[in-house]
Amino acid sequence: MARVRIKQLPITEKTLFSSLVNRNQTEIQDYSFIKDYTNLMKVSINDKKKIKDLTKQLSEGLQLPSEEVHEELSQAKTELQDLYKKLSQRDDYCKDFKAKLEKAEAKEKEYRVRIQELEESCEEEQKKYQMIILTLNEIVDKLDRTNEQYNVVAAEKDKLKQDVKSLQSDNALLFKKVVHLQDEVVSHYNEQSQGKCTCGQEETKESEESRELTKIEKIAEEFGKVVESTTHDEDYSNTFSYSIPSFASHKKDLDSCEVSAVAYNNRGTVIATGSAHGTLKLWDPFHGGEIKILKNFSSAVCTLSFSTDNQFLAACYVDRTIRVWKTNNWKLYNSFHGHSDLINCSTYSHTDDALVTGSADRKIKLWDLNRGICTKSYSGYSSCQDIDSLAYGSLMASGHQDGTVKFWTPNQKDYIEQIEPHGDPITSVCFTQDGRYLLTTSMDHTIKLIDVRQFEEISEFEHENYVNGNKTSRASIAPSGDYAVVGSKNGDVIILKLNTDEIQLEEIYRGEHSNCVNICQWQPNGGTFTTADMKGSFIIWQ
């Protein structure tokens, strides 16, 4: 099978030529008259033109006597016309030139005026510039002076710090001496009481004793405050136990729904828990037994708090009502509402003797639980996430969604100080018992310790295991003020050691919670703490 493309040339050149000739002939054949016609048309059109010209010439020629005169006249006319034309052209040119000149002069005037204005403005600006340079120089001088002063002050500060350190060391030494001397005095008295019969040496001993006593009195006068404070510290530390809870003693389930609130009463004898189903339960923290189930409301519990005199338990619900229970017979005592949005947090203020609630409607309100009346209302400028008040003081701190921590006193209408330690929303704030420091947690997964007296951030804690999983997660500080407990998203419970300089990781308890730890709450006596997670299990640690 061969594929062939046939290419014939059916028209040879001869046939093409003949067909072209044929075409030309046939197309013209019947219409040869058209050529004659066109020729005739040309002739006729030419004739018409000639006739027109002749008639024109005739009409002009009839008015004149003879051809010579006519020619002369026409020549003269043309010359005259040319002259007139030239004259008119010159006139036009002159006019144009004059107009141009006038325009140019006007422009010149404008430009001169402008130049003057510009010069004046230039001078003014130069003056201004000089003034600015002078003021700048003054400012620079001032800066130099202030810098020098600052350096001097800084040097003085360093000196003072060194003095303070040396004084502290002296103080410690002296205190040791005082204690030593006290021991000596005691032993001396004992010796004296043992040997009353030995009278000969009495006088000398008494004299020695009096000398020592005067010494002690002098030292005591000088450093009396120090001595007092140390004794106070000892008393303070005796009320709390220092051991950290280390194992999960009781593990409970709350209907497999989120434990949204946990609260201890002031003596630490009852734990109240509130769940997302709305059940309030009371537990024994030492044996883990269920004491009572309070009435079940359909809406979820937001927060719980006991009053400091242990008379009332206040519970805030998602439907924005606050319900108050009396603790002596566990009956519903009062119910009221005033917030227009979710109540995120609550605490009991000791000094005001009132319940403090913070809400997502950006308001912080104080409630008299006896009467069920809102006594005060502050504007928090942003949704309030957590609030805490000093146990024995008038200061309150609130953490907000815009990342600020605001401090309040009962006498002022507005906040007294505002700081912004975290960039992200703050989830919990917690005072230490002595009111010196404030612990804040935030959605940026860091924990910060704030000095309340200076309103400054002291230290920061960050760990790979600590992830803040919830906007309502709460941290808690032990009443001794040395430790804090926080919960992480992966179920870890983290114990932190709080020093004045830094926050250190003390312990991580794993494996008890399987999901995000929501709330940590330390017992007011310090023996135990509880943690609760999102899936309803809550654990008492001992």
């Binding site: 046939i6 290419k7 040339l9 028209i11 093409l16 072209l20 030309n24 046939t26 197309e27």
Partner: protein, 316 residues
């Protein structure tokens, strides 16, 4: 091969000398007059353009048109109710619109002159001066790859147009030798234009077809200069696949039946019966060599105009 393709000068002369009788009349609807309008007859070369006639016609109808302030750009021609393109020569227009089945019954070429309502949807106003020069430039661009030969000789182009109008072959080719004559090694493409008597586009929708009336539609597709020589049928099958297609046929040689040799042969077929292929008023067989046609029958602007007449009764 070059010897075969070299042009025949006699054929070229005869091709140039072809003339058509033309009958021109003013549009009745545009003039209010009691008398019968005079008709204008003229023999016009096939290579000439219609816009060259306008000054003569204004002179002829000077009684009617004088004092109306009509510029030369306002005039346009129509044939059977459709406006005629200015850029096509008269012979090509005649082939596409009037000529039917190689008969000469429809002669003279009857045309209507208008000066009202210029059809801007199909014609461009005021471009008639530049048409010849433009198409010369296009063709030389395709042939050699540059149009400087035309751009440098614009005065020559003007005199070429005059000689076309008056049918002077020698005057025309004196100038055209510099522009249009090239050896085969210099050439890159052969300029070819196909003119169809209806609107055609390979991707056109049906709704568009209805809206556009059948004006002469030009497809411009140059042919590459190669050693392979194609015939006109193959070229048409490539460009107008709607109307032409290639079919393979098996032919048995009757002389060598014993050897049983079979040959496959490609033949170009028309998809609609009665479609005519015309070049300069001649019916052309589809097997003719395209380069040979280009050499001998190219028009005054060095394009080869192939007119394809699809019969109007055919249903698409």
């Amino acid at each position: 091969m070059e010897e075969d393709i070299a042009p025949n000068y006699e054929i070229r002369r005869k091709n140039f000398q072809g003339t058509l009788p033309v009958q021109i009349r003013l549009d009745y609807s545009e003039i209010y007059i009691d008398k019968e309008l005079p008709t204008y007859y003229i023999m016009q070369p096939r290579m000439s353009y219609f816009f060259l006639l306008i000054p003569q016609l204004i002179e002829f109808y000077s009684e009617l048109l004088e004092g109306k302030g009509i510029s030369n750009d306002e005039y346009w021609f129509s044939c059977r109710g459709e406006p005629l393109r200015f850029d096509l020569p008269i012979g090509v227009l005649y082939d596409t619109f009037i000529r039917e089945n190689s008969s000469h019954d429809n002669l003279p070429f009857k045309i209507c002159l208008h000066y009202h309502k210029f059809p801007t949807y199909s014609l461009q106003k005021g471009m008639s001066k530049y048409i010849f020069q433009q198409s010369l430039k296009e063709s030389s661009m395709m042939r050699v790859g540059k149009a400087t030969a035309v751009q440098d000789r614009l005065e020559h182009v003007r005199s070429m147009l005059n000689s076309i109008k008056e049918g002077k072959y020698d005057d025309f080719w004196r100038y055209n030798e510099e522009i249009g004559e090239h050896s085969l090694s210099q050439l890159k493409y052969f300029p070819v234009r196909i003119v169809i008597n209806r609107h055609y586009h390979p991707y056109m929708l049906k709704e568009e077809k209805d809206s556009i009336k059948g004006n002469a539609f030009v497809i411009q597709r140059p042919v590459k200069v190669d050693a392979t020589d194609i015939c006109i049928g193959e070229y048409l099958a490539k460009t107008l696949s709607k109307y032409f297609f290639i079919q393979t046929e098996v032919i048995v040689d009757e002389d060598n039946i014993e050897e049983e040799k079979q040959n496959e042969v490609e033949v170009v077929e028309r998809s609609i019966k009665g479609t005519e292929v015309i070049v300069n008023g001649l019916d052309i067989d589809l097997d003719t060599s395209l380069t040979w046609l280009i050499m001998n029958l190219s028009a005054q602007d060095n394009f080869l105009y192939i007119t394809v007449r699809v019969p109007s009764e055919s249903i698409e």
